[in-house]
């Protein structure tokens, strides 16, 4: 063997190894795109088994089309391969961010999803056959096939392991797809500058490479920004408003039937059935104090309870205490929301105070005929404090002797102990209580507790006109609890035991994702 053929052999080996390495990289990338699409689909569309299996099926089928198409490819194979790499990189790499951005702006997300799956699949299907044809020169076919598929499968294994273990936890879906796009482009660059055959079109390809990389890198850098749209994905409907305040994240969504308000991802009301919730919150208590002139509302910055209150002409003033000025402003300014609360917050009788309720009740010295307590559910220790005997003691000072207080008290069906714990805590402070419940489709079976200073609940007033849910009959039946919601013994909720938060956590846990 002479020296020239030896070095030729060597360089052949080198380029061969190089190409095998490319096989490995593109195989990894290929599977990553598939996983990205599958994950996206199962999270966005739900039903992960169906989503994953249809995405995988479609992807593999598209790869088949790609392989078939590769048969039609002729001419400079290097050129084709490099071009395809750049394309796979850009299309596959951008798949996650683009699908994600389009999700709520397109009527059928599935079309976008499968278009991406098909396009990526076809391009990925083209890669290996073309690469094999390039490598075919100088290697025996059976070795070639063996090696190429070995690396193909190793790449797939690697992808399937690092995707859930490293990529998703550390990079996240969006950056993962972008990074692997860059890897594909990297392979293009690698080949472009390692083979003499590519000299003629290096310039032109380099421009393409630069463009593609730029897009991917920009996506990577702005991933956070793209992410800020992410919450829209957590909601089924179109997000029409969202705002982060120091206290919470406010999101309004809308579909053609209803408007929904979410605070920190928790549904506060749906315009479709909130009348049930708010009528039930306000009227039973008001009926017992028909001459009520002064009312205090704690929480309820949406003005919907106020709307119900303003139906009583005897009412002189409503003080509404809500922590978050952004909430009360939003419900005083937005035309759409003003329609919903009938401009209640703009009424002369309404006095809005933006402060936290605990400190408010500790410092206020007025007396109220009716007090309406409409806080978020006791899902954490800081909200839990607003359901303690200490809090009820403080509010009790502000309630007229013949007055009445009503507290929204979570679902007696889902959270039976939580519900009765609230009633028992009120009783521990000396209140007599009237627990009741109604059905609100968006929430399910929902509970409230009325609390009075020793007297009984006599709903004697005349109900205002125009109510859609509460009537005499409903008020009669709502205080009866079927066995599955009937009273259970509980501890009393105090600042230094916070049993309610524990009950609540346990009882709602099966419903959380």
């Amino acid at each position: 063997m002479d020296s020239t053929s030896g070095s030729q052999q060597q360089s052949l080996n080198r380029s061969h190894r190089l190409l095998l390495f490319s096989v490995f990289v593109i195989a990894t990338c290929g599977l990553i795109y598939e996983l990205v699409a599958g994950t996206m689909a199962s999270y966005l569309l739900g039903d992960s088994v169906t989503q994953f299996s249809t995405v995988i099926g479609a992807y593999l089928f598209s790869m088949g089309i790609g392989s078939w198409l590769s048969g039609k490819v002729d001419g400079d194979l290097f050129r084709w391969f490099i071009l395809i790499e750049i394309l796979v990189g850009v299309v596959g790499g951008c798949s996650a961010p683009v699908m994600f951005l389009l999700f709520e702006h397109v009527t059928s997300f599935r079309v976008v999803l499968y278009a991406f799956v098909a396009l990526t699949g076809i391009l990925v299907g083209l890669e290996i056959p073309i690469l094999m044809r390039i490598m075919n020169a100088g290697v025996e076919f059976r070795h070639l096939v063996a090696r190429v598929f070995t690396f193909d499968y190793i790449g797939a294994l690697l992808a399937s392991l690092i995707f859930p273990l490293l990529l998703i936890p550390y990079l996240g879906l969006i950056r993962t797809s972008l990074v692997f796009g860059l890897f594909n482009v990297g392979v293009a660059v690698y080949i472009l500058y390692s083979f003499r055959e590519t000299v003629r079109y290096r310039r032109r390809m380099a421009t393409l490479v630069a463009g593609g990389s730029l897009v991917l890198v920009a996506g990577f850098v702005f991933a956070e920004r793209i992410m800020s749209y992410s919450e829209t994905l957590a909601f089924q409907d179109k997000v029409i408003y969202s705002k982060s305040t120091p206290y919470q994240r406010i999101v309004l969504t809308r579909n053609n039937r209803e408007l929904r308000l979410f605070l920190n991802g928790n549904l506060q009301f749906s315009s479709a059935d909130e009348y049930r919730y708010h009528e039930a919150l306000v009227h039973p208590a008001m009926q017992a104090v028909p001459a009520a002139a002064r009312v205090l509302i704690l929480g309820g910055g949406d003005g919907l309870a106020v709307r119900e209150l303003l139906r009583y002409p005897a009412l002189k003033s409503v003080t509404l205490v809500d922590l978050d000025p952004a909430m009360t402003q939003m419900f005083s300014n937005s035309e759409m929301l003003l329609q919903l609360n009938k401009r209640s917050l703009l009424s002369d009788k309404v006095h809005v105070v933006n402060t936290d309720a605990f400190n408010y009740v500790r410092t206020d010295s007025s007396l109220y005929d009716v007090i309406i307590v409409d806080f978020p559910d006791p899902s954490n220790y800081s909200i839990g404090k607003l359901y303690t005997v200490k809090f009820y003691e403080e509010v009790s000072r502000l309630l007229q002797e013949r007055g009445i207080m009503v507290i929204q008290s979570t679902s007696p069906l889902v959270a039976r102990r939580s519900f009765w714990c609230i009633a028992h805590s009120l009783e521990a402070v000396g209140f007599t209580t009237v627990p009741y419940h109604v059905y609100v489709p968006s929430f399910g079976e929902w509970g409230y507790v009325m609390a009075m200073k020793g007297h009984l609940w006599h709903p004697e007033g005349t109900l205002p006109d125009g109510l859609r849910y509460i009537n005499r009959n409903v008020m009669k039946t709502m205080t009866s609890f079927p066995p599955d919601m009937a009273e259970v013994p509980t501890d009393i909720n105090k600042l230094n035991n916070q049993v309610l938060v524990n009950y609540f956590e346990e009882e709602w846990a099966p419903y959380e994702h």
């Binding site: 879906l173 992410m227 120091p246 991802g265 954490n380």
Partner: protein, 541 residues
């Protein structure tokens, strides 16, 4: 009003899926100093003022003098308690001097936008109802709101809110500090056995009819059977009784560090047991192990004492640097370190509520030796850490007291815990480290030498065990170094002769009150030391 809708993917899950670890984290990992964004400094330079004392001779004698009836030096809990007591007994010419800018001593506190926070002492266990002096003070301070069935009703705002304590062990936050998560059965049995042992000791009495262990500790039984325990270390005591579980010993070591600034190897067995067996607190609305706490820690109590000092005059920023006993008065030399000016006082009676190591420099000769004795102190490092959010690990949610298993530090308390307002982003935690290495002078030097940057690193490394990447969320760290944080009840200190000797007044003109004189540095001891000395001063003991 409602919770997550079941059919919706949880938002948090989505965010995690989409974003992974935020880019900032990746960037922070790669940059050389991950703490460069953290602001802060070393606060509490009291030791510098204290060092003036040692060079007291260099300070010129004052040329102006004033006359006072009673002068109290040191406005810590003991000094404030003495002033309060004397004022209530009708003494109307009391001057209280404090070298610090603020009163409170080891119970001082600070404040920023996120919260008020303690710089030292931070809680008081529900006290024994039999302690009438303390109960009266607490009632006047609004901590006790009344009595029900003969038991005090504590202000529920001041009782520690739930959840109270958690321990990070085996990668998980468990509820409570007694290790149980992942702890093998035999260890749990030993732990339960020890707890039963000390529960029984609580009710034990000596031949004199007094409880074996009491607060204030001078009311404990004089029975040799118990006092002999002050001659061995707690570690020895435990070994003799066959307590070997690593988890139990860790816990006991943690407790001793927490209260005495040193481990079981150095703590007197009597003191070690006192921690568990002296508290017989009862309440109408809390259980015996409940504690009282405030965002500003015991600063609340110190301020309440001060508010009950009536007409007593309080001067801060005044260092007493020399005490000269005369036949019918005591001459005091004072310095205002801020201005460098000094002045003198001729006082009828003086009550020194400064620590023993300070008193040594104030007086001279035999008296100095008698009152200073062999007291040794544990240095403490306390850090107040302001964060924008606190990443949590698995298990129990953020509590008031949060401890990490197996660390030098004794964990941190959450200053916002007692707040009734929902947290608005920022919060403050107060982190505690007793320095145990070497002799106590070496340890002190080592502590003073460390820079703020060194401490930030130590603190962040300690906390990151339980809070991954916590430094990213930390905005500010202020560090306070207590060179002589706590008196150490080493064997022989509490029931040795020196301690009683150090309490004895000089010429019926100079009196001593400080928790050092108990040997156990807790609020109740300081409070009673103040009253004891005040009684002696007014001839009522």
């Amino acid at each position: 009003m409602n919770t997550d809708r079941p059919e919706m993917p949880s938002r948090r899950e989505w965010l995690r899926l989409l974003a992974g670890v935020p880019l900032a984290a990746v960037a922070a990992c790669s940059s050389k100093n991950p703490y460069s964004h953290i602001t802060g400094g070393i606060a509490g330079a009291n030791h510098k003022v204290g060092h003036l004392l040692r060079d007291g001779a260099a300070i010129p004698a004052p040329d102006e003098y004033m006359e006072r009836e009673i002068v109290i030096a040191g406005a810590g809990v003991s000094g404030l308690s003495a002033a309060r007591w004397l004022d209530r007994k009708g003494h109307n010419d009391i001057l209280l001097l404090e070298m610090g800018e603020r009163t409170g001593g080891n119970a001082v506190w600070g404040q920023n936008k996120a919260s008020a926070y303690p710089w030292g002492a931070h809680y008081l266990p529900v006290p024994d109802a039999a302690d009438e002096e303390l109960a009266a003070f607490l009632q006047a301070a609004g901590v006790i709101t009344g009595y029900r069935n003969g038991l005090p009703v504590f202000n529920e705002y001041h009782l520690c809110h739930d959840p109270e304590e958690r321990l990070f062990i085996h990668g998980h936050w468990q509820e409570g500090l007694l290790p149980h998560f992942g702890v093998p059965g035999p260890d749990r049995q030993q732990i339960a056995g020890f707890m039963q042992h000390v529960a029984a000791l609580k009710e034990e009495k000596g031949t004199d009819g007094k409880y074996a262990f009491s607060i204030p500790l001078d009311t404990s039984s004089a029975d040799e059977r118990w006092r002999i325990l002050d001659t061995i270390t707690f570690a020895q005591y435990l070994k003799e009784r066959g307590y070997t579980s690593a988890y139990l010993l860790w816990y006991l070591n943690y407790c001793c560090k927490d209260d005495y600034g040193m481990g079981i190897e150095h703590t007197s067995a009597w003191a070690g047991l006192h921690y568990f067996a002296a508290r017989r607190g009862r309440a109408a609305n809390a259980d015996h192990s409940s504690i009282l706490t405030w965002p500003q820690g015991n600063g609340f109590l110190a301020d309440a004492l001060r508010a009950q000092c009536g007409n007593a005059e309080i001067k801060t920023g005044v260092l007493l640097y020399r005490v000269l006993p005369h036949l019918d008065y005591v001459e005091l030399h004072c310095l205002m370190p801020d201005t460098g000016k000094s002045f003198g006082i001729r006082a009828k009676k003086v009550l020194l509520s400064s620590p023993r190591y300070v008193n040594k420099h104030l007086l001279a000769g035999d008296i100095s030796n008698r009152i200073s004795g062999q007291a040794s102190y544990a240095p403490w490092v306390v850090a107040n850490i302001t964060f924008s959010s606190l990443p949590q690990g698995r298990g129990t949610a953020l509590c008031w007291d949060n401890v990490i298993y197996g660390r030098d530090s004794v964990g941190y308390v959450y200053a916002n815990h007692q707040s009734l307002t929902p947290p608005v982003g920022k919060g403050v935690i107060t982190w505690y480290l007793p320095i145990q290495a070497g002799s106590d002078k070496d340890a002190r030097m080592q502590v003073y030498k460390r820079s703020w940057n060194d401490w930030v690193k130590v603190i962040m490394e300690d906390l990151s065990i339980a809070h991954r990447d916590i430094h990213r969320f930390v905005e500010n760290i202020d560090v306070w170094v207590w060179g002589h944080g706590m008196i150490q009840p080493v064997p022989g200190y509490i029931w040795g002769r020196e301690r009683t000797a150090a309490m004895r007044p000089v010429n019926d003109r100079i009196f001593f009150a400080h928790s050092d004189l108990s040997g156990i540095s807790i609020f109740e001891e300081a409070f009673h030391q103040g009253i004891r000395a005040a009684k002696e001063l007014s001839g009522m003991s």
